[in-house]
């Protein structure tokens, strides 16, 4: 079957691929500038403390040290991503009076090399007054708990309520109700490139920054807030970025401290966080206590769901408020609950701030929801897939008062997975297959950042040789957005992928874009690029029509560089020739188009949602509790597939990350101190641990998305923990409600089960 598309859907090389496989791709990590200094950050060793005095004199005397800064060298402002609510902009970064977690920055040094800068840190004398600290949100929410931020009652940073229907009335009508508690753990992003920045203040007072980021625009705007500068006097450039996963779209200590130091010296300053700082002093996935109540009729109709969540906020708001909101919303996914209620509280604690990580609260809500659903299925004696089928969302469904689901391939995904499980047949002993369904957003509607700009904007410029330059603020952090956007541009213009060049993530030349988070770029940045390309196309078509002089009833289109009559493709002209004529016709001005996209009237959450169902097979060693992830098969739909290699990569990578969330990744703490801040100690799935993966693509079309496309990056991290939990239960009959599901927990549960059996 021939594709109706020329470029979209093709298996192409990533347009940055050659640079990456030859080692010539330059990351911020590689940036070296003339006269550049190296910076290091001194961080508080206390979970909660007043800063009484900082003496930097000895550090300043060390040969090779050029500057030492503290909070006193800043304007003393606070910042945060939720700019619409000033009280939620609570992070100074370089602390002045108080530090609130182990790792909170108190000073920074710039020196001629990293070793000298590190030596200087030891010479900075800080006098702290340790304060009582609180680590668990369930403790922090008590009356007598230490206050993390002054004036914040019960340490409640923010709370969220979502409701429709009448949950209490509905529960009365249920035949069966389940109440379950869960604990979702933290998780570290572990980007291969740690947070880093090279900040360069010129003598003209303008700031240029090279940094590893998911949103150059956000960083630019937050710099402007913190430094009291005009946004346009700051240029932020995203080089190739070694991973983000949600950790790199907030102003971080490397970026801010490098800028403060550079401001003092008018020299470029480079700060690269160590892996230990990466684990302890950057943001992480939000741990959550989850209380779920689910009610159903005996035929399996789900009538009501209530979710109460308390999240560990850590020391600052960051993007954690969004995670609180999204976990509450996605707790209703992907099922049609006629009655639903969510109450979530984000509670400040004296631990590293919790914020955004791939999935943004949905891996947590999917783990707990899908676990409970399987439990409900067992209670009712209904097949777990059947229960999901009975209640699953369908196309054109409205989540009451919240969201419009247009395209939805959930049921096809359920069918595919059911087929897959049947094909597997009878499993060996102690093997189990667990299922988990999800739905996720393609970017958010909300504007807590308070940008005055369109959420995505793009410019396309066609040059005399027919090549198209795309200017987009979207950031390629490895997910391949440069390639996806180039493909969208090429498809829209009817030219080849090689004819497109992308300039991205540079605030100096690209229009603003909110960046790579919430899985928004394919849909939102994609729409902006498509519209900009369409504007160029209409200009080209004007000239083509003039040149070809065809009857008004005929339509023209461009495909493979050939402008032709739609129903008579043999009659046409070369796009490349027309471009030359068009530019001459415009008095030598290149053809340009602008496009932008901001979702309007799309509900409260997102313009589009992607869905999927995942089946994880595990093999459990019942004597030790250890289990192997044998196979993870995912049926998913993400509208039109623009970049199939990209999507497969997103899925397999998601399984590694989400599988880790389910199986082994954790950040145990002792009095606010993270105990495993190294790659050796923080367990990650490696190639020998990676399961076989299978992808079953379901065809859907999302009207809101460019060429029908929607997200396929974050949603895929949602189901795996739940699938693993359900698989372990299927295999050996034990249910673990707190993540990660480690061999020790499985072992203990098996022993408990044995004990109970003997007791009977």
């Amino acid at each position: 079957m021939t594709s109706k598309f020329s470029v979209i859907g093709q298996r192409v090389h990533n347009i940055d691929g050659t640079e990456k496989v030859t080692g010539s791709a330059k990351y911020t990590f590689d940036v070296v500038l003339p006269n550049m200094l190296y910076g290091k950050i001194l961080r508080s060793p206390h979970p909660h403390a007043k800063i009484l005095k900082i003496d930097t004199r000895q550090a300043k005397k060390l040969i090779g040290v050029k500057a030492v800064v503290t909070g006193k060298d800043t304007l003393g402002r606070k910042q945060g991503i939720w700019r619409r609510f000033p009280e939620l902009c609570d992070e100074e970064i370089l602390c002045r009076a108080k530090t609130r977690y182990i790792g909170d920055p108190v000073a920074a040094v710039a020196a001629i090399d990293e070793d000298t800068a590190e030596e200087a840190l030891d010479l900075i004398e800080v006098e702290y007054e340790p304060l009582p600290a609180v680590f668990d949100p369930l403790e922090a929410i008590k009356e007598d708990a230490p206050q993390v931020h002054d004036g914040v009652e019960l340490n409640i940073n923010i709370n969220r309520h979502i409701e429709w229907g009448d949950v209490d009335e509905a529960f009365r009508k249920c035949d069966h109700i389940r109440e379950d508690q869960f604990k979702c753990s933290s998780q570290a992003h572990v980007c291969m490139e740690t947070h880093d920045a090279v900040a360069s203040f010129g003598h003209n007072g303008k700031l240029t920054v090279w940094t590893s980021t998911q949103s150059s625009y956000y960083i630019q705007r937050l710099y402007a807030d913190m430094l009291d500068m005009r946004e346009s006097d700051i240029r932020v450039m995203n080089r190739h970025t070694g991973g983000g996963f949600g950790s790199k779209f907030e102003l971080d200590s490397a970026q801010f401290c490098a800028a403060i130091l550079s401001q003092k010296l008018c020299q470029p300053v480079k700060i690269v966080l160590t892996r230990e700082e990466e684990f302890t002093a950057t943001k992480r996935r939000t741990p959550m206590y989850y209380f779920l109540k689910l009610g159903a009729k005996k035929d399996g109709t789900l009538l009501a769901k209530e979710a109460r969540v308390i999240t560990e906020g850590g020391a600052y708001t960051a993007m954690g408020a969004t995670a609180l909101y999204l976990t509450g919303f996605f707790s209703s996914f992907p099922y049609k609950y006629p009655n639903y209620r969510y109450d979530g509280y984000r509670v400040y604690t004296n631990t590293a701030p919790t914020s955004a990580m791939r999935g943004f609260g949905a891996p947590q809500s999917t783990f707990v929801g899908e676990s409970q659903l399987d439990m409900m299925a067992e209670d009712l004696g209904i097949d777990p897939i059947e229960l999901r089928r009975k209640n699953g969302m369908t196309p054109d469904y409205e989540v009451p008062g919240q969201a419009f689901i247009q395209s939805c391939g959930l049921h096809q995904c359920l069918d595919k997975i059911e087929e897959h499980i049947k094909k597997r047949g009878k499993l060996p002993p102690n093997h189990g297959i667990g299922v988990s369904a999800y739905g996720f957003m393609s970017g958010g509607i909300f504007n807590w950042f308070n940008t005055p700009y369109a959420f995505s904007a793009a410019v396309v410029r066609i040059n005399i040789d027919g090549k198209a330059d795309v200017y987009t603020g979207a950031c390629d952090i490895g997910q391949g957005s440069n390639t996806t956007l180039a493909m969208i541009c090429a498809e829209e213009l009817g030219i080849k992928l090689e004819d497109v060049r992308v300039f991205s993530g540079d605030t100096g030349i690209c229009p603003p874009d909110l960046g790579a988070w919430g899985s928004r770029q394919t849909l939102m940045s994609g729409n902006a690029v498509k519209r900009a390309a369409a504007e160029c196309k209409s200009q080209i078509m004007e000239f083509a029509a003039a040149k070809m002089g065809v009857n008004i009833v005929y339509d023209l289109d461009i495909k493979d560089g050939w402008i032709h009559i739609v129903n008579r493709p043999e009659r046409g002209v070369s796009y490349y020739d027309i471009v030359k004529g068009a530019i001459r016709g415009k008095d030598g001005v290149a053809i340009m188009g602008r496009g932008h996209y901001t979702p309007h009237r799309k509900g409260m959450i997102s313009p589009a949602y992607s869905f999927g169902v995942q089946a994880a097979e595990v093999a459990v060693d019942v004597e030790t509790g250890r289990y192997k992830l044998v196979n993870v098969t995912t049926a998913h739909e993400s509208g039109t597939v623009i970049n199939p290699i990209g999507i497969e990569g997103q899925l397999e990578g998601a399984i590694m990350m989400a599988g880790g969330y389910g199986y082994c990744e954790d950040q145990p703490m002792d009095e606010g101190k993270i105990l495993n801040p190294s790659i050796a100690d923080y367990k990650l799935i490696r190639s020998l641990d990676m399961p076989e993966t299978e992808i079953l693509e379901i065809d859907t079309y999302e009207p809101e998305g460019p060429f029908g496309a929607k997200e396929a990056g974050e949603g895929l991290t949602n189901p795996t923990a739940g699938a693993i939990g359900n698989a372990v239960y299927k295999a050996v009959g034990v249910r673990i409600n707190d993540l990660p599901i480690t061999p020790e927990k499985v072992f203990k549960a098996l022993k408990e089960k044995e004990k109970k059996k003997k007791a009977k």
Partner: protein, 289 residues
């Protein structure tokens, strides 16, 4: 950060020992550096003098003779892993090496360096103990040898005296009807052992256990031989009940810690399961031999 040091790269053992005598506690020996450099990069170890023995060719060898196998201390893990004679005569050693860290580490790291690091969770020592290895240390005053199981004294502390280098690991000829097995329990395949178990069994008449050596790693401050557990099995016909008893006993002889990877209780439970399991595997290997 690594602190500055003066660097020497002796080409002979004699040169190296002279340097050790000269600098005493002020120097550290580096070979593969796969453990040492991690500590130095974190600033935990900062010797003013570094003696690099990687280039001492006379210390890198695998010799097979009538007395058994002799491995020079600076032999890389990878050389052992790939050695035809090791794979043939001491397959458990090669197998252990395949699960040690990563190929990159094994290409440069050495068995001597690993053993001298004294990590109770290390892979080689339990296997060497089960095989009845003898370690030889050489100083300027001469050589001395001891059984592998006596080499570690405490966490990261070995019997090496100042001025001494570990120079050779000797394995006795494998008696007939003997099989050895090793495993480490971990959550990620190539990870350090949460608990490591090596068992060597020599079968006697009627599939009885004529001789047995069990070595446990990551179960105490040093690798240990749970001798009471061995006594339960030695000279007996092996039954499931006996194996279970041996496992129980071994778990009581162990002295594991609780840390973020596993609780003490879980480590003991793992020993209870793995000692019988590995004994059966060793017996099966013995039958094949």
């Amino acid at each position: 950060m690594i602190h500055d040091f003066e660097y020497f790269a002796p080409k002979t053992l004699k040169e190296a020992l002279a340097l050790l005598d000269k600098y005493q506690d002020d120097c550290k020996v580096i070979c593969g550096g796969q453990s040492l450099l991690v500590l130095m990069r974190q600033g935990l170890v900062a010797p003013p003098y570094m003696i690099d023995i990687k280039g001492i060719a006379e210390l890198s060898y695998i010799k097979d003779d009538k007395d058994g196998l002799k491995i020079g201390a600076t032999t890389t893990h990878r050389a052992i892993e790939k050695s035809p004679v090791v794979k043939k005569k001491y397959p458990v050693l090669a197998k252990m090496e395949t699960r040690l860290a990563s190929i990159q580490t094994r290409n440069w790291g050495t068995i001597g360096g690993n053993v001298c690091h004294g990590d109770p969770a290390g892979d080689p020592l339990p296997v060497l103990i089960a095989l009845g290895a003898t370690l030889t240390m050489t100083g300027s005053k001469g050589k001395r040898s001891m059984p592998a199981e006596n080499f570690c004294l405490d966490y990261f502390e070995t019997a090496l005296e100042p001025g001494e280098l570990l120079t050779e690991i000797a394995l006795p000829v494998v008696p007939p009807n003997t099989g050895t097995a090793y495993t480490k329990f971990n959550v990620i395949e190539s990870d350090l052992a949460t608990v490591g178990v090596a068992v060597s069994v020599t079968l006697g008449a009627g599939d009885s256990c004529q001789d047995i050596r069990i070595a446990l790693g990551a179960s105490a401050p040093t690798p240990i031989r749970p001798k009471k557990a061995e006594a339960i099995l030695k000279g007996k016909k092996i039954t499931d009940a006996l194996l279970a008893q041996a496992g129980e006993t071994a778990s009581t002889e162990a002295d594991p810690i609780s840390d973020i990877y596993a609780s003490e209780e879980y480590r003991r439970e793992l020993i209870k399961v793995l000692v019988p399991r590995l004994t059966r595997e060793a017996m099966a290997n013995a039958k094949k031999a």
